[in-house]
Protein backbone atom coordinates (compact mmCIF):
# COMPACT_ATOMS: atom_id res chain seq x y z
CA UNK A 1 0.00 0.00 0.00
CA UNK A 2 1.25 3.45 -0.90
CA UNK A 3 0.06 6.31 1.25
CA UNK A 4 -0.35 9.70 -0.42
CA UNK A 5 -0.75 12.90 1.56
CA UNK A 6 -2.49 16.02 0.22
CA UNK A 7 -0.43 17.43 -2.66
CA UNK A 8 1.06 14.08 -3.60
CA UNK A 9 0.41 12.45 -6.96
CA UNK A 10 0.97 9.00 -8.41
CA UNK A 11 0.38 7.16 -11.68
CA UNK A 12 -2.73 4.98 -11.83
CA UNK A 13 -2.81 1.42 -13.13
CA UNK A 14 -4.32 1.06 -16.59
CA UNK A 15 -7.82 -0.29 -17.00
CA UNK A 16 -11.04 0.43 -15.18
CA UNK A 17 -10.78 1.80 -11.67
CA UNK A 18 -12.79 1.56 -8.50
CA UNK A 19 -12.39 4.63 -6.33
CA UNK A 20 -13.42 4.03 -2.75
CA UNK A 21 -13.95 7.06 -0.54
CA UNK A 22 -13.94 6.35 3.19
CA UNK A 23 -15.48 9.47 4.62
CA UNK A 24 -16.99 8.17 7.82
CA UNK A 25 -20.02 9.67 9.49
CA UNK A 26 -20.79 12.94 11.23
CA UNK A 27 -23.61 12.68 13.78
CA UNK A 28 -26.63 14.67 12.68
CA UNK A 29 -25.18 15.40 9.26
CA UNK A 30 -25.18 13.62 5.95
CA UNK A 31 -22.05 13.39 3.79
CA UNK A 32 -22.52 13.31 0.03
CA UNK A 33 -19.71 12.33 -2.29
CA UNK A 34 -19.85 13.62 -5.85
CA UNK A 35 -17.57 13.69 -8.85
CA UNK A 36 -17.17 16.37 -11.48
CA UNK A 37 -15.74 15.87 -14.95
CA UNK A 38 -13.91 19.06 -15.88
CA UNK A 39 -12.02 20.37 -18.88
CA UNK A 40 -8.62 22.05 -18.91
CA UNK A 41 -10.23 25.22 -17.60
CA UNK A 42 -11.36 23.40 -14.45
CA UNK A 43 -15.06 23.67 -15.28
CA UNK A 44 -17.65 21.11 -16.28
CA UNK A 45 -18.77 21.11 -19.92
CA UNK A 46 -22.38 21.03 -18.76
CA UNK A 47 -24.37 20.07 -15.71
CA UNK A 48 -24.49 16.53 -17.11
CA UNK A 49 -20.84 16.18 -16.00
CA UNK A 50 -21.69 16.11 -12.30
CA UNK A 51 -22.09 12.60 -10.93
CA UNK A 52 -24.00 12.59 -7.66
CA UNK A 53 -27.02 11.05 -5.96
CA UNK A 54 -29.38 12.74 -8.42
CA UNK A 55 -27.35 11.67 -11.46
CA UNK A 56 -25.49 8.45 -10.62
CA UNK A 57 -23.97 7.74 -14.03
CA UNK A 58 -22.36 10.26 -16.37
CA UNK A 59 -20.45 10.36 -19.64
CA UNK A 60 -22.19 7.25 -20.88
CA UNK A 61 -21.27 5.35 -17.74
CA UNK A 62 -17.56 6.23 -17.83
CA UNK A 63 -17.96 7.56 -14.29
CA UNK A 64 -20.63 6.10 -12.05
CA UNK A 65 -21.67 6.21 -8.43
CA UNK A 66 -21.58 2.51 -7.62
CA UNK A 67 -22.81 2.56 -4.07
CA UNK A 68 -22.83 4.40 -0.79
CA UNK A 69 -23.39 3.19 2.72
CA UNK A 70 -21.89 3.03 6.17
CA UNK A 71 -19.53 5.95 5.70
CA UNK A 72 -18.15 4.74 2.37
CA UNK A 73 -18.91 5.74 -1.19
CA UNK A 74 -17.71 3.84 -4.23
CA UNK A 75 -17.30 5.09 -7.77
CA UNK A 76 -16.30 3.27 -10.91
CA UNK A 77 -14.17 5.09 -13.44
CA UNK A 78 -13.42 3.77 -16.93
CA UNK A 79 -10.63 6.13 -18.08
CA UNK A 80 -10.64 4.75 -21.63
CA UNK A 81 -14.25 5.87 -22.02
CA UNK A 82 -13.86 9.36 -20.58
CA UNK A 83 -14.63 11.78 -23.42
CA UNK A 84 -11.79 13.73 -25.02
CA UNK A 85 -11.82 17.24 -23.59
CA UNK A 86 -12.39 16.03 -20.04
CA UNK A 87 -9.01 16.47 -18.38
CA UNK A 88 -9.82 15.74 -14.77
CA UNK A 89 -12.32 13.79 -12.69
CA UNK A 90 -12.66 15.54 -9.36
CA UNK A 91 -13.84 13.67 -6.26
CA UNK A 92 -15.51 15.76 -3.61
CA UNK A 93 -17.24 15.31 -0.27
CA UNK A 94 -19.85 17.72 0.99
CA UNK A 95 -21.97 17.99 4.07
CA UNK A 96 -25.64 18.17 3.21
CA UNK A 97 -27.12 21.54 4.20
CA UNK A 98 -23.82 22.39 5.93
CA UNK A 99 -24.99 20.73 9.14
CA UNK A 100 -21.45 20.16 10.32
CA UNK A 101 -17.85 20.63 9.22
CA UNK A 102 -15.22 18.16 8.18
CA UNK A 103 -13.31 19.17 11.30
CA UNK A 104 -15.58 16.73 13.11
CA UNK A 105 -13.79 13.85 11.41
CA UNK A 106 -10.21 12.82 12.04
CA UNK A 107 -9.41 11.93 8.45
CA UNK A 108 -10.85 10.75 5.17
CA UNK A 109 -9.35 8.26 2.74
CA UNK A 110 -9.44 7.84 -1.01
CA UNK A 111 -8.39 4.39 -2.15
CA UNK A 112 -7.63 3.23 -5.67
CA UNK A 113 -5.96 -0.16 -5.81
CA UNK A 114 -2.78 -0.03 -3.74
CA UNK A 115 -2.87 3.77 -3.48
CA UNK A 116 -4.43 5.31 -0.41
CA UNK A 117 -4.76 9.07 -0.09
CA UNK A 118 -5.15 10.22 3.50
CA UNK A 119 -6.66 13.63 4.15
CA UNK A 120 -6.33 14.92 7.71
CA UNK A 121 -9.52 16.66 8.76
CA UNK A 122 -9.18 17.86 12.33
CA UNK A 123 -9.40 21.62 12.64
CA UNK A 124 -10.98 22.08 9.25
CA UNK A 125 -13.81 24.54 8.76
CA UNK A 126 -14.80 23.41 5.27
CA UNK A 127 -18.15 21.84 4.49
CA UNK A 128 -17.10 20.92 0.97
CA UNK A 129 -13.77 19.32 0.15
CA UNK A 130 -12.03 18.37 -3.05
CA UNK A 131 -10.59 15.04 -1.95
CA UNK A 132 -8.65 13.99 -5.02
CA UNK A 133 -8.50 14.29 -8.76
CA UNK A 134 -7.88 11.72 -11.43
CA UNK A 135 -6.26 13.50 -14.35
CA UNK A 136 -4.68 13.02 -17.74
CA UNK A 137 -0.95 13.37 -18.02
CA UNK A 138 0.93 12.61 -21.23
CA UNK A 139 -1.64 10.10 -22.41
CA UNK A 140 -2.02 8.20 -19.15
CA UNK A 141 -3.94 8.85 -15.96
CA UNK A 142 -2.69 9.93 -12.56
CA UNK A 143 -4.24 10.72 -9.22
CA UNK A 144 -3.50 13.69 -7.01
CA UNK A 145 -4.69 13.97 -3.44
CA UNK A 146 -5.98 17.51 -2.90
CA UNK A 147 -7.70 18.06 0.46
CA UNK A 148 -8.84 21.62 -0.20
CA UNK A 149 -12.33 22.99 -0.14
CA UNK A 150 -14.93 25.57 0.70
CA UNK A 151 -16.77 26.67 3.78
CA UNK A 152 -19.90 27.22 1.71
CA UNK A 153 -20.71 23.59 1.02
CA UNK A 154 -21.73 21.89 -2.20
CA UNK A 155 -23.18 25.06 -3.69
CA UNK A 156 -19.84 26.92 -3.40
CA UNK A 157 -17.93 23.94 -4.69
CA UNK A 158 -20.27 23.31 -7.62
CA UNK A 159 -20.13 26.98 -8.59
CA UNK A 160 -16.32 26.84 -8.50
CA UNK A 161 -16.48 23.89 -10.89
CA UNK A 162 -18.92 25.61 -13.22
CA UNK A 163 -22.14 23.85 -12.26
CA UNK A 164 -25.23 26.02 -11.99
CA UNK A 165 -27.17 25.28 -8.86
CA UNK A 166 -30.93 25.59 -8.50
CA UNK A 167 -32.20 27.56 -5.54
CA UNK A 168 -33.23 25.23 -2.72
CA UNK A 169 -36.84 24.15 -3.08
CA UNK A 170 -39.15 25.68 -0.52
CA UNK A 171 -40.37 23.22 2.09
CA UNK A 172 -43.54 21.60 0.79
CA UNK A 173 -46.66 22.79 2.55
CA UNK A 174 -47.92 20.43 5.22
CA UNK A 175 -50.59 17.86 4.48
CA UNK A 176 -53.53 17.86 3.87
CA UNK A 177 -52.95 20.66 1.38
CA UNK A 178 -49.67 19.60 -0.23
CA UNK A 179 -48.03 22.01 -2.63
CA UNK A 180 -46.12 20.70 -5.61
CA UNK A 181 -42.36 21.01 -5.36
CA UNK A 182 -41.29 23.57 -7.94
CA UNK A 183 -39.70 22.01 -10.97
CA UNK A 184 -36.02 22.89 -11.25
CA UNK A 185 -35.10 25.26 -14.07
CA UNK A 186 -33.96 23.03 -16.92
CA UNK A 187 -30.35 24.22 -17.07
CA UNK A 188 -29.53 23.79 -13.41
CA UNK A 189 -28.84 20.88 -11.16
CA UNK A 190 -31.21 20.46 -8.28
CA UNK A 191 -29.34 19.59 -5.12
CA UNK A 192 -32.30 19.55 -2.82
CA UNK A 193 -33.59 16.45 -1.15
CA UNK A 194 -37.14 16.10 -0.03
CA UNK A 195 -37.75 14.16 3.14
CA UNK A 196 -41.33 13.05 3.42
CA UNK A 197 -42.43 13.12 7.02
CA UNK A 198 -45.72 12.93 8.84
CA UNK A 199 -45.94 16.68 8.56
CA UNK A 200 -44.81 16.93 4.93
CA UNK A 201 -46.09 13.73 3.46
CA UNK A 202 -46.56 14.41 -0.24
CA UNK A 203 -44.56 15.80 -3.12
CA UNK A 204 -45.44 16.12 -6.78
CA UNK A 205 -42.73 15.55 -9.35
CA UNK A 206 -43.53 17.18 -12.63
CA UNK A 207 -42.07 17.00 -16.11
CA UNK A 208 -43.44 18.79 -19.11
CA UNK A 209 -43.07 15.87 -21.48
CA UNK A 210 -44.37 13.32 -18.97
CA UNK A 211 -41.25 11.16 -19.43
CA UNK A 212 -39.44 10.68 -16.17
CA UNK A 213 -36.58 8.46 -17.37
CA UNK A 214 -35.39 5.68 -15.09
CA UNK A 215 -36.95 6.18 -11.67
CA UNK A 216 -34.89 4.31 -9.09
CA UNK A 217 -36.18 3.20 -5.74
CA UNK A 218 -33.70 2.12 -3.12
CA UNK A 219 -34.33 0.36 0.17
CA UNK A 220 -31.47 0.40 2.59
CA UNK A 221 -31.25 -0.57 6.17
CA UNK A 222 -28.91 -1.32 8.98
CA UNK A 223 -28.16 -4.97 8.24
CA UNK A 224 -26.44 -5.73 11.50
CA UNK A 225 -29.02 -4.65 13.98
CA UNK A 226 -27.80 -4.28 17.53
CA UNK A 227 -28.59 -7.08 19.91
CA UNK A 228 -30.57 -5.62 22.73
CA UNK A 229 -31.64 -7.05 26.03
CA UNK A 230 -31.15 -10.40 27.66
CA UNK A 231 -33.44 -12.33 25.38
CA UNK A 232 -31.71 -11.59 22.09
CA UNK A 233 -29.79 -14.55 20.80
CA UNK A 234 -28.87 -16.24 17.56
CA UNK A 235 -28.48 -14.35 14.33
CA UNK A 236 -29.48 -10.76 14.59
CA UNK A 237 -29.05 -10.06 10.87
CA UNK A 238 -32.12 -8.61 9.29
CA UNK A 239 -33.09 -9.22 5.68
CA UNK A 240 -35.52 -6.70 4.33
CA UNK A 241 -37.24 -7.22 1.01
CA UNK A 242 -38.45 -4.47 -1.27
CA UNK A 243 -41.56 -4.88 -3.33
CA UNK A 244 -44.30 -3.04 -5.16
CA UNK A 245 -47.91 -3.35 -6.12
CA UNK A 246 -48.41 -1.88 -9.58
CA UNK A 247 -51.68 -0.97 -11.22
CA UNK A 248 -51.71 0.03 -14.87
CA UNK A 249 -54.07 2.53 -16.47
CA UNK A 250 -55.77 -0.42 -18.17
CA UNK A 251 -56.60 -1.95 -14.80
CA UNK A 252 -53.96 -4.74 -14.84
CA UNK A 253 -52.36 -5.25 -11.47
CA UNK A 254 -49.10 -6.98 -10.57
CA UNK A 255 -46.91 -7.70 -7.60
CA UNK A 256 -43.17 -7.13 -8.01
CA UNK A 257 -41.03 -8.78 -5.35
CA UNK A 258 -38.39 -11.49 -4.88
CA UNK A 259 -40.80 -13.73 -3.01
CA UNK A 260 -42.43 -15.89 -5.68
CA UNK A 261 -39.78 -14.79 -8.20
CA UNK A 262 -42.02 -11.96 -9.43
CA UNK A 263 -39.23 -9.61 -10.52
CA UNK A 264 -41.40 -7.72 -13.02
CA UNK A 265 -40.04 -6.05 -16.16
CA UNK A 266 -38.58 -2.70 -17.15
CA UNK A 267 -39.20 -2.65 -20.91
CA UNK A 268 -42.39 -4.68 -20.65
CA UNK A 269 -45.41 -4.26 -18.35
CA UNK A 270 -45.59 -3.63 -15.47
CA UNK A 271 -42.56 -1.39 -16.30
CA UNK A 272 -41.35 -1.95 -12.76
CA UNK A 273 -38.39 -4.25 -12.18
CA UNK A 274 -36.77 -5.50 -9.01
CA UNK A 275 -33.00 -5.83 -9.35
CA UNK A 276 -31.42 -8.98 -7.93
CA UNK A 277 -32.28 -9.90 -4.37
CA UNK A 278 -29.16 -10.04 -2.29
CA UNK A 279 -29.45 -12.26 0.72
CA UNK A 280 -25.77 -12.44 1.61
CA UNK A 281 -25.49 -8.92 2.90
CA UNK A 282 -22.54 -8.41 0.52
CA UNK A 283 -24.31 -5.66 -1.35
CA UNK A 284 -24.15 -2.71 0.98
CA UNK A 285 -26.41 -0.37 -0.87
CA UNK A 286 -29.55 -2.36 -0.25
CA UNK A 287 -32.23 -3.32 -2.73
CA UNK A 288 -33.27 -1.50 -5.86
CA UNK A 289 -36.45 -1.24 -7.88
CA UNK A 290 -36.46 0.49 -11.25
CA UNK A 291 -39.54 2.12 -12.67
CA UNK A 292 -39.65 2.95 -16.37
CA UNK A 293 -40.65 6.59 -16.05
CA UNK A 294 -40.91 6.95 -19.81
CA UNK A 295 -43.95 4.66 -19.51
CA UNK A 296 -45.43 6.67 -16.68
CA UNK A 297 -48.49 7.43 -18.82
CA UNK A 298 -49.34 3.70 -18.73
CA UNK A 299 -49.07 3.45 -14.94
CA UNK A 300 -51.85 4.41 -12.58
CA UNK A 301 -50.39 3.79 -9.14
CA UNK A 302 -47.56 2.00 -7.38
CA UNK A 303 -47.39 1.06 -3.72
CA UNK A 304 -43.85 0.52 -2.51
CA UNK A 305 -43.43 -1.68 0.51
CA UNK A 306 -40.80 -3.38 2.58
CA UNK A 307 -41.11 -6.50 4.62
CA UNK A 308 -38.86 -8.22 7.04
CA UNK A 309 -38.08 -11.55 5.41
CA UNK A 310 -35.74 -12.68 8.11
CA UNK A 311 -34.93 -11.42 11.56
CA UNK A 312 -36.88 -9.86 14.36
CA UNK A 313 -39.61 -7.54 13.17
CA UNK A 314 -38.33 -4.41 14.79
CA UNK A 315 -38.43 -1.43 12.48
CA UNK A 316 -36.70 0.76 15.00
CA UNK A 317 -33.59 -1.40 14.74
CA UNK A 318 -33.59 -1.59 10.96
CA UNK A 319 -33.25 2.17 10.53
CA UNK A 320 -34.77 1.56 7.10
CA UNK A 321 -34.95 4.26 4.48
CA UNK A 322 -36.49 4.29 1.03
CA UNK A 323 -35.17 6.76 -1.51
CA UNK A 324 -36.98 7.57 -4.73
CA UNK A 325 -34.62 9.02 -7.29
CA UNK A 326 -36.12 10.61 -10.40
CA UNK A 327 -33.58 12.01 -12.90
CA UNK A 328 -33.46 15.78 -12.65
CA UNK A 329 -35.75 15.91 -9.63
CA UNK A 330 -35.04 16.27 -5.96
CA UNK A 331 -34.38 12.95 -4.28
CA UNK A 332 -37.32 11.89 -2.15
CA UNK A 333 -36.65 9.96 1.00
CA UNK A 334 -38.97 8.21 3.42
CA UNK A 335 -37.72 6.87 6.72
CA UNK A 336 -39.45 3.93 8.37
CA UNK A 337 -38.84 5.37 11.75
CA UNK A 338 -42.09 4.66 13.53
CA UNK A 339 -40.96 3.09 16.73
CA UNK A 340 -41.91 -0.16 18.34
CA UNK A 341 -44.14 -1.71 15.68
CA UNK A 342 -43.93 -5.49 15.70
CA UNK A 343 -45.71 -6.16 12.43
CA UNK A 344 -43.41 -7.38 9.64
CA UNK A 345 -44.76 -5.45 6.69
CA UNK A 346 -44.50 -1.75 5.98
CA UNK A 347 -46.24 0.15 3.20
CA UNK A 348 -43.62 2.84 2.67
CA UNK A 349 -44.72 5.15 -0.10
CA UNK A 350 -47.17 5.42 -2.92
CA UNK A 351 -46.61 6.85 -6.37
CA UNK A 352 -49.74 7.97 -8.15
CA UNK A 353 -50.23 9.21 -11.66
CA UNK A 354 -51.87 12.55 -11.03
CA UNK A 355 -52.51 14.22 -14.42
CA UNK A 356 -49.16 12.93 -15.67
CA UNK A 357 -47.24 14.03 -12.59
CA UNK A 358 -45.69 11.62 -10.14
CA UNK A 359 -47.36 12.24 -6.83
CA UNK A 360 -45.28 10.66 -4.09
CA UNK A 361 -46.88 10.15 -0.69
CA UNK A 362 -45.42 8.88 2.48
CA UNK A 363 -47.37 5.94 3.89
CA UNK A 364 -45.35 4.18 6.60
CA UNK A 365 -48.20 2.03 7.80
CA UNK A 366 -47.58 -1.39 9.29
CA UNK A 367 -49.34 -4.62 8.55
CA UNK A 368 -49.16 -8.30 9.46
CA UNK A 369 -48.64 -9.36 5.87
CA UNK A 370 -49.38 -8.82 2.20
CA UNK A 371 -53.04 -9.67 2.53
CA UNK A 372 -53.72 -7.22 5.31
CA UNK A 373 -51.83 -4.46 3.53
CA UNK A 374 -53.68 -5.27 0.32
CA UNK A 375 -57.06 -4.92 1.94
CA UNK A 376 -56.04 -1.70 3.71
CA UNK A 377 -55.16 -0.14 0.38
CA UNK A 378 -57.95 -1.76 -1.64
CA UNK A 379 -55.95 -3.62 -4.28
CA UNK A 380 -57.70 -7.01 -4.25
CA UNK A 381 -54.97 -9.52 -5.04
CA UNK A 382 -55.39 -13.22 -4.20
CA UNK A 383 -52.73 -14.39 -1.79
CA UNK A 384 -51.06 -17.76 -1.15
CA UNK A 385 -48.02 -18.45 1.01
CA UNK A 386 -44.69 -18.40 -0.79
CA UNK A 387 -40.98 -18.66 -0.21
CA UNK A 388 -37.84 -17.57 -2.03
Amino acid sequence: MTVLSPGANAPLPSGDLTVLIRHGMIPGAEIDVSTFLVTGTGKVRSDADMCFYGQPSVAGGAVALAGASGGETRFTVAPSRIPAGVERVIFTATIHENRGTFGQLSEMEVQVGVLTGKIPCSGRTETALILAEVYRRNGSWKIRVVGQGFNGGLAALATHLGVEIAEPAPTPAPSPSPAPAPAAPPSTVNLSKVSLTKQNSTVNLQKDDGRFGKIRVNLNWNQKAQKTGLFSFGSSNIDLDLGAFVEMRNGNRSVVQALGNAFGGFGTPPFVKLLGDDRTGAVTDGEWLEINGDKWADIDRILIYAFIYEGVPNWQQTDGVVKIIVPGQPEVEVRMNEFGDKRGMCAVASLENSNGQVRVSREVTFHKGHKEMDSSYGWGFRWTAGSK
Binding site: G7, N9, V146
Partner: protein, 192 residues
Protein backbone atom coordinates in the same frame (compact mmCIF):
# COMPACT_ATOMS: atom_id res chain seq x y z
CA UNK B 1 8.46 31.46 -30.00
CA UNK B 2 9.36 30.52 -26.48
CA UNK B 3 11.23 27.29 -25.87
CA UNK B 4 9.27 25.00 -23.60
CA UNK B 5 11.58 23.20 -21.23
CA UNK B 6 10.93 20.07 -19.31
CA UNK B 7 12.75 19.02 -16.16
CA UNK B 8 16.49 18.73 -16.76
CA UNK B 9 16.34 20.50 -20.12
CA UNK B 10 18.33 23.58 -21.05
CA UNK B 11 18.35 26.26 -23.72
CA UNK B 12 20.77 28.92 -24.81
CA UNK B 13 19.12 32.27 -24.19
CA UNK B 14 21.86 34.03 -26.14
CA UNK B 15 21.12 31.91 -29.20
CA UNK B 16 17.40 32.53 -28.86
CA UNK B 17 18.00 36.28 -28.74
CA UNK B 18 21.39 37.29 -30.13
CA UNK B 19 22.71 40.41 -28.41
CA UNK B 20 20.67 39.67 -25.27
CA UNK B 21 21.62 42.10 -22.50
CA UNK B 22 18.87 41.99 -19.92
CA UNK B 23 16.17 39.55 -18.90
CA UNK B 24 13.22 39.40 -16.58
CA UNK B 25 12.79 36.06 -14.86
CA UNK B 26 9.13 35.53 -14.03
CA UNK B 27 7.94 33.02 -11.47
CA UNK B 28 4.26 32.24 -11.30
CA UNK B 29 1.63 30.03 -9.77
CA UNK B 30 -2.12 30.09 -9.31
CA UNK B 31 -3.58 31.72 -6.26
CA UNK B 32 -5.51 29.51 -3.92
CA UNK B 33 -9.17 29.56 -4.88
CA UNK B 34 -10.38 27.33 -2.08
CA UNK B 35 -11.03 28.49 1.47
CA UNK B 36 -8.31 28.24 4.09
CA UNK B 37 -4.90 29.83 4.54
CA UNK B 38 -3.63 31.47 1.34
CA UNK B 39 -0.48 30.20 -0.33
CA UNK B 40 2.25 32.79 0.10
CA UNK B 41 5.10 31.79 -2.17
CA UNK B 42 8.41 33.61 -2.15
CA UNK B 43 10.96 33.70 -4.93
CA UNK B 44 14.66 33.91 -4.07
CA UNK B 45 17.84 34.08 -6.11
CA UNK B 46 21.25 32.77 -5.17
CA UNK B 47 24.05 34.49 -7.07
CA UNK B 48 26.75 31.85 -7.18
CA UNK B 49 30.39 31.71 -8.11
CA UNK B 50 32.37 28.83 -9.61
CA UNK B 51 31.90 26.68 -6.49
CA UNK B 52 28.11 26.89 -6.56
CA UNK B 53 28.06 29.05 -3.41
CA UNK B 54 27.22 32.69 -2.89
CA UNK B 55 30.22 35.00 -2.72
CA UNK B 56 28.73 36.82 0.24
CA UNK B 57 25.42 37.00 2.04
CA UNK B 58 24.32 39.89 -0.16
CA UNK B 59 24.27 37.43 -3.07
CA UNK B 60 21.16 35.94 -1.52
CA UNK B 61 18.38 38.04 -3.05
CA UNK B 62 14.98 37.60 -1.47
CA UNK B 63 12.11 39.62 0.00
CA UNK B 64 14.35 41.24 2.63
CA UNK B 65 17.29 41.89 0.30
CA UNK B 66 15.94 42.91 -3.04
CA UNK B 67 19.12 43.68 -4.96
CA UNK B 68 22.36 41.82 -5.53
CA UNK B 69 25.49 41.80 -7.67
CA UNK B 70 25.81 45.57 -7.50
CA UNK B 71 22.28 46.11 -8.78
CA UNK B 72 22.53 43.67 -11.67
CA UNK B 73 19.92 41.44 -10.01
CA UNK B 74 16.73 43.09 -8.79
CA UNK B 75 13.80 41.42 -7.07
CA UNK B 76 10.72 43.48 -7.85
CA UNK B 77 8.90 42.63 -4.65
CA UNK B 78 6.78 40.14 -2.85
CA UNK B 79 3.35 39.23 -4.12
CA UNK B 80 1.75 37.66 -1.08
CA UNK B 81 -1.35 36.30 -2.73
CA UNK B 82 -0.42 34.95 -6.17
CA UNK B 83 -3.26 37.00 -7.64
CA UNK B 84 -3.13 38.35 -11.13
CA UNK B 85 -2.31 36.87 -14.48
CA UNK B 86 1.20 36.12 -15.59
CA UNK B 87 4.19 36.37 -13.30
CA UNK B 88 3.62 36.51 -9.58
CA UNK B 89 7.14 37.58 -8.76
CA UNK B 90 9.79 38.93 -11.06
CA UNK B 91 13.54 39.23 -10.92
CA UNK B 92 15.20 41.62 -13.35
CA UNK B 93 18.71 40.63 -14.37
CA UNK B 94 21.00 42.97 -16.29
CA UNK B 95 23.22 40.31 -17.83
CA UNK B 96 25.70 42.87 -19.09
CA UNK B 97 26.37 44.02 -15.53
CA UNK B 98 26.65 40.61 -13.86
CA UNK B 99 30.26 40.33 -12.60
CA UNK B 100 32.32 37.81 -14.55
CA UNK B 101 33.06 35.68 -11.48
CA UNK B 102 29.33 34.95 -11.16
CA UNK B 103 28.69 31.66 -12.91
CA UNK B 104 25.04 31.02 -12.20
CA UNK B 105 21.86 32.43 -10.73
CA UNK B 106 19.74 29.87 -8.92
CA UNK B 107 15.99 30.61 -8.74
CA UNK B 108 14.08 29.04 -5.91
CA UNK B 109 10.54 29.34 -4.63
CA UNK B 110 9.54 28.50 -1.10
CA UNK B 111 6.17 28.33 0.60
CA UNK B 112 5.98 30.76 3.49
CA UNK B 113 5.04 29.02 6.76
CA UNK B 114 4.43 25.81 4.85
CA UNK B 115 4.61 23.61 7.90
CA UNK B 116 2.27 25.55 10.16
CA UNK B 117 -0.19 25.98 7.29
CA UNK B 118 0.18 22.34 6.25
CA UNK B 119 0.93 23.31 2.68
CA UNK B 120 3.14 21.96 -0.06
CA UNK B 121 3.76 22.47 -3.77
CA UNK B 122 1.42 19.65 -4.71
CA UNK B 123 -1.42 21.90 -3.58
CA UNK B 124 -0.27 24.78 -5.78
CA UNK B 125 -1.42 24.79 -9.38
CA UNK B 126 0.38 25.79 -12.55
CA UNK B 127 3.76 26.87 -11.21
CA UNK B 128 6.20 28.03 -13.85
CA UNK B 129 9.45 29.88 -14.47
CA UNK B 130 9.94 31.88 -17.63
CA UNK B 131 12.57 34.15 -19.08
CA UNK B 132 11.54 37.29 -20.92
CA UNK B 133 13.85 39.48 -23.00
CA UNK B 134 13.73 42.87 -21.25
CA UNK B 135 14.16 44.45 -24.64
CA UNK B 136 11.03 43.85 -26.66
CA UNK B 137 9.37 41.63 -24.09
CA UNK B 138 9.43 38.34 -25.98
CA UNK B 139 9.34 35.14 -23.96
CA UNK B 140 12.54 33.18 -24.57
CA UNK B 141 11.95 30.08 -22.47
CA UNK B 142 9.34 28.67 -20.15
CA UNK B 143 9.35 25.77 -17.74
CA UNK B 144 6.05 24.46 -16.40
CA UNK B 145 6.71 22.57 -13.16
CA UNK B 146 3.26 21.37 -12.29
CA UNK B 147 4.00 17.66 -12.54
CA UNK B 148 7.51 17.88 -11.14
CA UNK B 149 6.52 18.49 -7.57
CA UNK B 150 4.50 16.77 -4.94
CA UNK B 151 4.84 17.33 -1.21
CA UNK B 152 7.89 19.62 -1.32
CA UNK B 153 7.78 22.95 0.48
CA UNK B 154 10.85 24.47 -1.21
CA UNK B 155 11.74 24.06 -4.86
CA UNK B 156 14.62 25.09 -7.06
CA UNK B 157 12.78 26.08 -10.23
CA UNK B 158 15.77 26.67 -12.48
CA UNK B 159 19.13 28.26 -13.15
CA UNK B 160 20.45 30.95 -15.43
CA UNK B 161 24.12 30.18 -16.03
CA UNK B 162 27.11 31.06 -18.13
CA UNK B 163 28.34 28.54 -20.66
CA UNK B 164 31.35 29.81 -22.53
CA UNK B 165 30.10 33.16 -23.82
CA UNK B 166 26.44 32.30 -23.65
CA UNK B 167 23.75 32.63 -21.05
CA UNK B 168 21.62 29.53 -20.71
CA UNK B 169 18.62 28.47 -18.70
CA UNK B 170 18.26 25.04 -17.16
CA UNK B 171 15.00 23.61 -15.80
CA UNK B 172 15.74 22.03 -12.41
CA UNK B 173 12.44 21.26 -10.66
CA UNK B 174 14.04 19.76 -7.56
CA UNK B 175 12.54 19.88 -4.15
CA UNK B 176 14.52 20.81 -1.12
CA UNK B 177 13.68 19.68 2.40
CA UNK B 178 13.76 22.17 5.22
CA UNK B 179 12.53 25.33 3.56
CA UNK B 180 14.25 28.57 2.72
CA UNK B 181 16.68 28.47 5.64
CA UNK B 182 18.36 25.23 4.74
CA UNK B 183 18.21 26.08 1.05
CA UNK B 184 20.12 29.29 1.78
CA UNK B 185 22.60 27.49 4.04
CA UNK B 186 23.35 24.94 1.34
CA UNK B 187 24.25 27.78 -1.01
CA UNK B 188 26.72 29.16 1.49
CA UNK B 189 24.58 31.88 3.06
CA UNK B 190 25.35 32.49 6.72
CA UNK B 191 22.03 32.30 8.46
CA UNK B 192 21.74 34.48 11.54
Amino acid sequence: MAVSLSKGGNVSLTKEAPGLTAITVGLGWDARVTDGAAFDLDASVFICGEDGKVRSDTDFVFYNNKTGAGGAVQHTGDNTTGEGDGDDEQVKVDLSKVPTEVKKLVFAVTIHEAESRNQNFGQVSNAFMRVVNSVGGSVLAKYDLSEDYSTETAMIFGEIYRHNDEWKMKAIGSGFAGGLGSLAASHGVNMG
